[in-house]
């Protein structure tokens, strides 16, 4: 193995979390920083010709190359896990920008009580209100402490939306059930697709409180505090699974990379496949020494560094700790150990698919232009008559539908799946069909976790990560509760036929859910139950920081990126203001 000259900081992963940390450290310090990204290098200008549904949305051109590495899955610990051989329930990105390039740019915040879920739920509903096998934890931080960082995130992204709660003042037209925000959104709401307008009017007529979805696919030209200007969205409809052709969608390559590239103290190495974090267990305190990786040349390289940041998404953040022998792996039989615990996914269901007699022009839209209502996603929800804990939000977004994926969605009354009758119905339904979505919280359970697979290996011979994951009654009941509400809204929208969600059964890796898998290296207020502190600092190796959704103790209903970024800002502040002056534990 070749050893390179030591640097001040090495960052593993060049997506949202890693590049935001690189940008903050590069702008505010003279640290010598190396970012290691496994996938190809990418620039915002690469997307001028990517509006090809087949190669991007169907063949997954921007996603992780599963021929080299995937994960294995089993529904419970008594079964044998098998590899997920093709993409399905989640779509981790690869290359500079990571999943932040192909995302939809939906940017709600988490509810205030999410961060103190165990305490607040027990206080309000009693110690036994949560399901028996839950592993719900507090995060060791409050929403009020995080709010300024959320505001910085909105300014970074230029988020478009309508505030519903500014410093406690409730504002009609915004989400009055969200946590307080210190300022209005930087840009006004996006334009609205027709389907979303129908949904808004129907929801309002039923007494709900619809509001424009917060969107980092911005409504108009905006210049952020770093001086980066982007134009507004053109509603071309190519967002999810694509990079943005016009740069309206916030992406690491258009917001962070241009800043980083102007600094001489950051080097970005693409094609660098990290394998281990090397650490010194004897020193006091123990310390990470750097990381080893295989370069695109095939050479094994050791990159020593004074600070190590893991920002390689939920799976590999967890896997690197397990492969490197850092911390104690979680054992569900004894409850001991922390690494790999609290695996969660968002409860995302197509609650009602509605068939209309009018064209919807669904090719026009964006991944985050739409309308939501959160009447069942609030920390003061009246739970009487509800047989599950927590909740979620309903939405009608105008993603911009493309024909390979959308053709052939038909009312349940039509049984044909090919041939003339099917073709005729599919043509007629093609632009008259849309789905009301529901996104709900996923509690953490003792039985959902990650460890190393004993059988299957990656292309370099390292064990794959094994997921042990299934839905439980709380999620099934939540989905069953959401379905008739969505059906009622679809009916009020004038749908002539409605397919209700058929019900949540076993965790299904063959259908897209969301790329919001979390946990494995969770934060908390003590090393007994968590891997990092709320400063994202490893409890045992204080010069190791872990960034991303892997640090979330449980899943919220809301999409995670703004929360990921808010914690990165907070960690960066603590590192710049305190750690660099006095290296050591921050919490």
């Amino acid at each position: 193995m070749k050893t390179l000259p030591a640097v001040d900081a090495v960052i593993v992963g060049g997506g949202w979390a890693g590049l935001l940390m690189a940008k903050e450290l590069a702008q505010r310090t003279s640290l010598n920083i190396v970012v290691l990204e496994r996938g190809p290098s990418r620039r915002a200008s690469d997307y001028s010709t990517d509006m090809d549904e087949l190669d991007y949305a169907i063949r997954f051109r921007m996603m992780q190359d599963l021929s080299k590495e995937t994960v294995t899955l089993r529904h419970d610990a008594a079964r044998r896990a098998l590899p997920l051989r093709q993409h399905g329930a989640f779509l981790p990105g690869s290359g500079v920008g990571g999943s932040g390039e192909h995302w939809n740019a939906q940017v709600p915040r988490f509810l205030p009580d999410c961060f103190e879920l165990l305490t607040k739920t027990s206080e309000k509903y009693g110690a036994n209100a949560l399901p028996e096998s839950h592993a719900v934890r507090d995060w060791g931080i409050t929403y009020n402490e995080l709010e300024p960082y959320y505001t910085r995130v909105d300014k970074l992204l230029g988020t478009s939306g309508q505030a519903g709660n500014i410093r406690g003042k409730l504002l009609d037209g915004g989400n009055i059930f969200e946590g307080w925000r210190s300022e209005a959104y930087p840009t006004p709401p996006t334009k609205m697709p027709y389907f979303s307008v129908l949904f808004r009017d129907a929801a309002k007529s039923l007494g709900y409180h619809p509001y424009p979805a917060p969107s980092a696919n911005i409504s108009q030209t905006y210049t952020n505090p770093d001086g980066i200007s982007r134009g507004g969205c053109t509603y071309c409809g190519f967002c999810a699974r694509f990079g943005c052709m016009v740069g309206a969608k916030a992406q690491p390559t258009n917001l962070l990379l241009p800043v980083i590239e102007k600094r001489s103290n950051v080097t970005l190495r693409a094609g660098a496949w990290v394998r281990r974090i090397l650490f010194d267990a004897v020193s006091k305190p123990a310390a990470a020494r750097g990381v080893s990786y295989v370069a695109s040349s095939g050479d094994e390289i050791f990159q020593p560094a004074s600070l190590v940041f893991l920002a390689s998404w939920t799976f590999n953040n967890t896997r690197f700790l397990l492969l490197s022998g850092i911390g104690e792996p979680y054992d569900p039989a004894t409850g001991r150990g922390t690494v790999g615990s609290n695996l969660t996914h968002q409860v995302t269901v197509g609650a009602a698919t509605a068939f209309f007699d009018r064209p919807l022009n669904r090719f026009m839209g964006s991944g985050s232009a739409g309308v939501l209502f959160s009447d069942f996603d609030r920390d003061d929800l009246d739970r009487s008559g509800l047989n599950f804990m927590r909740g979620g939000y309903f939405g009608a977004r105008g993603y911009g539908f493309q024909p390979i994926g959308a053709f052939g969605v038909l009312p349940n009354s039509i049984k044909a799946t090919w041939g003339s009758e099917w073709k005729k119905a599919a043509i007629s339904c093609y632009d008259r069909t849309a789905t009301i979505g529901f996104a709900g919280e996923h509690l953490a359970y003792k039985t959902n976790f990650m460890d190393l697979d004993p059988v299957y290996k990656d292309a370099l011979g390292d064990p794959l990560l094994r997921l042990t994951l299934d839905w439980r009654d709380n999620e099934r009941k939540m989905a069953a509760f959401a379905t008739p509400i969505a059906v009622q809204v679809a009916r009020a929208m004038g749908a002539r036929e409605i397919n209700p969600f058929p019900g949540l059964h076993s965790y299904d890796a063959t259908h897209y859910n969301s790329t919001h898998i979390q946990g494995g290296t969770i934060m908390g207020d003590s090393p007994a139950h968590s891997v990092v502190s709320p400063y994202l600092q490893h409890w045992q190796l204080p010069n190791l920081f872990i960034l991303g959704g892997s640090t979330f103790p449980q899943n919220a209903s809301a999409n995670p990126t703004p929360t990921v970024l808010a914690f990165v800002y907070r960690a960066a502040d603590a590192i710049v203001d305190r750690y660099l002056k006095h290296p050591g534990p921050l919490a």
């Binding site: 010709t49 090809d52 549904e53 098998l82 093709q86 053109t234 390979i404 053709f407």
Partner: protein, 219 residues
């Protein structure tokens, strides 16, 4: 080296009005009255004829409009199978291969190429059958992985950007009112509530003025 195979198409079967990308050279079929021979990359001629006939039962050319035949779906599938998709370049293919619950997805070792080659053996002479007999033969294999791939690839070939060899002349897009990759709908998105907005389709190449390398041409 495999013997060269061709699929013979007439301007008539392709609708007669299409701009068709052939060997990366655009040919205006309406200007040609002679049948054209498309070189095949993966299928034998007999296999291509069976795939064309079967795809055309999945999306028939009928009173609701053109189908798989006019879109050139068989050419699309031939190119896909010859490229990285056909050999499972992006799938995790390490053993052991074991049976799994449906929720874990396809666990087999067979690549799309192998699935087609095996599946087509069971459909010999299919293209000579009458439509009703063809439907009967397809109904017998409806639950196979081969049929499920054929159905999915037929939809792909009907509605993909023409750069992939399917959706010739954008017949698929015209059929459903999809305009292709439009650079902007800014002025239209809120203007057409409840009314169909159906601009003339444009291909990626037309919209961007650049030549794009499709994944099937990558190593």
């Amino acid at each position: 080296m495999r013997r060269r195979h061709f699929l013979t198409l007439s301007a008539n079967t392709l609708g007669g009005f299409l701009v068709y990308s052939l060997d990366r050279k655009a040919s205006l079929l309406s200007a040609q009255h002679k049948p054209i021979r498309v070189p095949l990359r993966f299928f034998t001629e007999a296999e291509a004829l069976i795939v064309a006939a079967a795809a055309s039962r999945i999306l028939p050319s009928d009173e609701s409009g053109p189908g798989a035949r006019e879109a050139g779906v068989a050419i699309f599938i031939d190119r896909q199978l010859a490229g990285p998709y056909g050999r499972d370049r992006f799938r995790y293919t390490q053993p052991p291969f074991e049976d799994a619950p449906r929720e874990l997805g396809y666990q087999g070792s067979a690549t799309p190429r192998q699935i087609y080659r095996d599946g087509l053996k069971g459909l010999q002479g299919f293209h000579f059958l009458a439509p009703a007999a063809q439907d009967e033969a397809l109904r017998k294999i409806e639950s196979t992985m081969f049929f499920s791939l054929l159905r999915q690839n037929t939809i792909e070939g009907m509605f993909c950007d023409p750069l992939h060899g399917g959706n010739a002349g954008m017949v698929g897009w015209q059929l459903i009112g999809f305009p292709g990759p439009r650079m902007s709908n800014f002025d239209e998105i809120e203007k057409y509530y409840g009314k169909a907005f159906r601009p003339k389709p444009v291909s990626l190449r037309q919209a961007t003025g650049s030549k794009v390398r499709p994944s099937e041409d990558e190593p």
